[in-house]
């Protein structure tokens, strides 16, 4: 297996071919290639265009509510009796998660490119809601592909999308989760290539999406870095974020990658354990492969067929991961560890009780790891957890796991 040597900087990727080491790239059908090259050109122009940046900044401030707070979770920290835990409150953004950061950036790009129809895939529905929201705000029709299983377990978000005027297409192929939704979104895109903008929700897919989504989400890490310096006068010891496709994680990680004393940990969905098939820990239990436009760690069988995986959290229920995470794993800069369904559920409940904050099940995976390591750390040490979304959407799932009916 490739074990690349540590580069001088971890923040310079991808290269011109869209590669992070061996990961990333542009593995798409020819029909989409001209469009992806066009998107890359527009993105390169937009990211250096002061007018584009100013419009995004204004929307981030006045519409999404940025900057999000960096909150010292004193109740949880005291309860655990170790390191100080801070939450980066992405749950307080408009639409309730970090997804709006990326959607605002990409909708401005779609507008700039003159594309009038928005399509998106969604797992937990957070990205679908954020996409439907920006589409409503800018007056674009929006079609959201969502696995049939996820439609069932994320009903409130499905209804929100419909209220926002989006068409939600349930995808029953496979296990009816995020992977299947992404396949169907790609089929739509290849068919409607003339007028459609594919608003990918995570830092994955063909180049330039992984870089572009990372840049839009890096607001999280840039703010967190400035906020912790202001509040504590120093950088944190540990940063933790949950990784499905990995957009909230790369967003908070990236600005800290060259701070070598900051330990960075990504949390994968351990589901019901890595011994069986029911997890989504592609970087702990998978191997490199090619899916959805990029090379990355994937859950796959010996023939290279992609497995479905499982997580209690629809947002982590994906058998792959963004390519930059695969590279950060292989270079050793970031540790990726699994958290089980039950551990995430416990973190969900404890955070609700001790902080009066209902975290998304995705974010609960990251909190669960903080719960494990905080007691082993000194009281003057600092952990930042990316609280990527609020958990209102998950109350049905949690009630089910607790054996209750609501």
């Amino acid at each position: 297996m490739n074990q690349p040597v540590a580069p001088n900087s971890f923040r310079t990727g991808p290269d011109e071919q869209g590669m992070f080491g061996i990961f990333g790239g542009r593995f798409v059908a020819e029909t989409l290639m001209p469009l992806i090259l066009d998107l890359e050109k527009e993105w390169d122009a937009a990211k250096n265009d002061p007018a584009f940046r100013a419009e995004l900044q204004a929307l981030s401030t006045h519409y999404a509510g940025r900057p999000s707070k960096l909150y010292y979770a004193e109740g949880l920290s005291n309860h655990l009796g170790g390191a100080k835990i801070y939450f980066k409150r992405e749950d307080l953004n408009h639409t309730g998660s970090h997804k709006i950061n990326n959607c605002l950036g990409q909708i401005l790009l779609a507008k700039r490119m003159g594309r009038k129809r928005i399509i998106a895939e969604t797992g937990a529905g957070q990205h679908g809601v954020a996409s439907a929201t920006v589409a409503a705000r800018f007056g674009f029709p929006c079609v959201v592909y969502m696995g049939a299983t996820d439609v069932e377990r994320q009903k409130p978000n499905v209804f929100r999308m419909k209220l926002l005027g989006a068409q939600v297409n349930a995808v029953s192929a496979g296990h009816g989760t995020l992977k299947d939704a992404m396949n169907e979104a790609l089929r739509d895109w290849v068919t409607n290539v003339e007028d459609t903008y594919y608003l990918i929700g995570t830092a994955a897919g063909p180049h330039p999406y992984p870089e572009m989504v990372r840049e839009f989400q890096s607001a999280i890490g840039n703010e967190a870095r400035a906020q912790i310096l202001e509040q504590e006068g120093r950088l944190p010891d540990v940063i933790i974020a949950a990784v499905g496709g990995g957009s909230n994680a790369i967003g908070i990680f990236h600005p800290f990658l060259d701070d070598k004393d900051v330990k960075i940990i990504g949390i994968e969905a351990g589901g019901r354990g890595l011994d069986g098939e029911e997890h989504c820990a592609s970087m702990n239990a998978g191997r490199p492969g090619v899916l959805h436009g990029n090379r990355t760690y994937l859950l796959q069988d010996s023939d290279g067929q992609i497995k479905d995986g499982h997580s209690i959290s629809a947002g982590l229920d994906y058998p792959g991961v963004g390519p930059e995470h695969s590279w950060l794993r292989d270079t050793g800069r970031v540790d990726y560890v699994p958290i089980l369904d039950d551990e995430a559920l416990e973190a969900f409940q404890l955070t609700t009780q001790k902080e009066g904050i209902i975290p998304a099940l995705e974010s609960s995976h990251a909190i669960a790891h903080a719960m494990k390591i905080a007691p082993t750390m000194r009281k003057d040490e600092i952990i930042i957890v990316n609280l990527s979304g609020r958990g209102d959407k998950d109350v049905h799932t949690v009630a089910g796991m607790m054996g209750m009916e609501i």
Partner: protein, 279 residues
């Protein structure tokens, strides 16, 4: 060096008619039936065989080919078995070109070098890998050309004159013109647009141009074949198999016979393609 594809295309050019290129899914509905279908194809008039490699996530395929791939995978098909199927076929037919068609991950998982060695030994002549555009040529295209296996590229309506040279650069065997943007099995495009597209591509290359996506009937095959060097039929063949499998996966008729009947009609279509309408 020439491959079976080059020789077959040259012979058909002499004969003055387009090739009938038939796609079927390897291992659908099971290995033995699928091998029987494969053997029936040239006998019914197919000139080139596209052997589908099933993949769990066929992002450019419509419902028919998605379902066929899943049937094959459920019946235990693997890339190794697909190569074995080609080798079995070669025992009695050493002339009909075989092109493997599918997605990259099973090949990447197999290992590119061992895949090419085994494909060559199994009598494979060419590859169509949907998710490897020219930007990714170092992955498989260049190694395949070195190994003497044709790498057949797809050109689409979105491939403009500026991009065509890049798409054609390392293409060999033939160019597969996908006559519409969309997934496999969608509606047939206007044949006049197809003729214009074929001549646009031919202005950039001497390679034969085969046209696919949406061809279902003998008449459509004839119309497309009037301007193209080859007509590719896929979804209609896969549907002929699906139509004789009931909800419980039981065969209600012989799939190989169903496919042969369809292909026989299509073959008559392409053989009429260059005749004057009065004939």
């Amino acid at each position: 060096m020439t491959t079976r594809i080059d020789r077959r295309m040259a012979a058909l050019k002499q004969e003055g008619r387009p090739a009938l290129v038939t796609y079927f899914m390897g291992g659908d509905p099971d290995y033995d039936t699928s091998l029987e279908i494969m053997k029936a194809l040239p006998k019914a008039g197919s000139d080139i065989i596209e052997l589908g490699m099933p993949f769990s996530d066929p992002m450019a395929d419509g419902p028919a080919i998605q379902a066929a791939g899943l049937r094959a995978l459920r019946a235990g098909q693997t890339l190794k078995k697909t190569l074995a199927m080609a080798a079995d076929f070669r025992k009695e037919d050493d002339e009909t070109p075989i092109v493997l068609m599918g997605y990259y991950n099973p090949i990447y998982s197999y290992g590119v070098d061992s895949f090419l060695a085994d494909a060559k030994a199994s009598g494979i002549d060419g590859l169509i890998v949907v998710d490897l555009p020219p930007e990714m040529d170092e992955e498989l295209c260049i190694p395949a050309l070195k190994a003497g296996v044709n790498f057949i590229r797809l050109a689409t309506p979105t491939t403009d004159d500026h991009r065509l040279p890049k798409v054609l650069q390392n293409t060999s065997g033939f160019v597969y013109y996908v006559s519409m943007t969309g997934i496999t099995g969608s509606a047939l495009p206007d044949t006049t647009n197809v003729a214009a597209a074929v001549s646009r591509i031919k202005a950039h290359t001497d390679l034969p141009v085969c046209v696919g996506f949406g061809v279902k009937t003998a008449e459509q095959a004839r119309a497309i074949g009037a301007s193209a060097d080859g007509v590719v039929v896929g979804t209609a063949i896969v549907n002929a198999v699906a139509n004789v499998i009931d909800g419980n996966g039981k065969m209600t008729a012989n799939p190989a016979e169903a496919v042969a009947t369809l292909v026989d009609g299509l073959a008559r279509g392409v053989r009429r393609a260059r005749l004057a309408p009065a004939d």
